[in-house]
Symmetry: C2
Subunit: 133 residues, 2 copies
Amino acid sequence: MEAIDLKKAGLKATLPRIRILEILEDSEEPHMSAEDVYKTLLEAGEEVGLATVYRVLTQFESAGLVIRHNFDSGHSVFEIDRGEHHDHMVCMETGQVVEFHNEDIERLQKEIASKHGFNLVDHSLVLYVKPKQ
Amino acid sequence: MEAIDLKKAGLKATLPRIRILEILEDSEEPHMSAEDVYKTLLEAGEEVGLATVYRVLTQFESAGLVIRHNFDSGHSVFEIDRGEHHDHMVCMETGQVVEFHNEDIERLQKEIASKHGFNLVDHSLVLYVKPKQ
DNA sequence: TTCCTCAACGACATTTATTCTCATTTACAT
DNA sequence: ATGTAAATGAGAATAAATGTCGTTGAGGAA
């Protein structure tokens, strides 16, 4: 139930927030831009302002409900955080996005940060690929 | 000599291009935004338009002279391509940027792409870190 | 060297993504 | 039910980047 998630996250359960969370949860495409969410709201006949969509998505990010990705498309996309960390592989020909997880890479990253006197807080790894042959 | 590099890269050796290349080569900070380059030009008393800076940087990217990075600052930064590939570690407290290279990670990336039926063309890896303690 | 031509340029308008402002509305604790 | 602070909607404002267009200049031809 969405309301519970919002309360738990320390956010008032307002209508825009509930709807936006539903949209992100139900979306086929796991990565949605603010515009995508806004259009989906309009199509559903909801009266929500674009500024609110941006505000809510940023709040969701702060609350750890969604993850913001800055691929190199010039705008941010958001993805529900289901707790399973993964990285992304983007096909440069089809646009297809594949999610993957590799424990060795994760470990190496921590080691490298540590070797330089830092603790790893977060990371962003995107592979740009093309189909074989 | 800059003119030679530009000619080799198939670009006319115009004054704005020569100056911008010099600025990128001489910069303390290896990552400069278009605005940074523009300001540096102004300070040096050069009459170059901002649009030209953007155009030239994009051309340099196409010609393989510079690499464009989209960290999550909301704008692109550019770095001279000296041929030595490396990834980046950004300190979330000081903004310090450390470059690193790890052959194991490079190899694992290729393996992962291959496992999914792709060839790795490029990748972007940024570690977000904080000082230990 | 001088001339010609097309690519490159400068100025500025425009677009795109996002944030800000502020008057109004709403969630929800009392 | 009601008060209050937080959230919202509308639209203005900002920032990054690109487009337009008349002018300039690099560099090959004469």
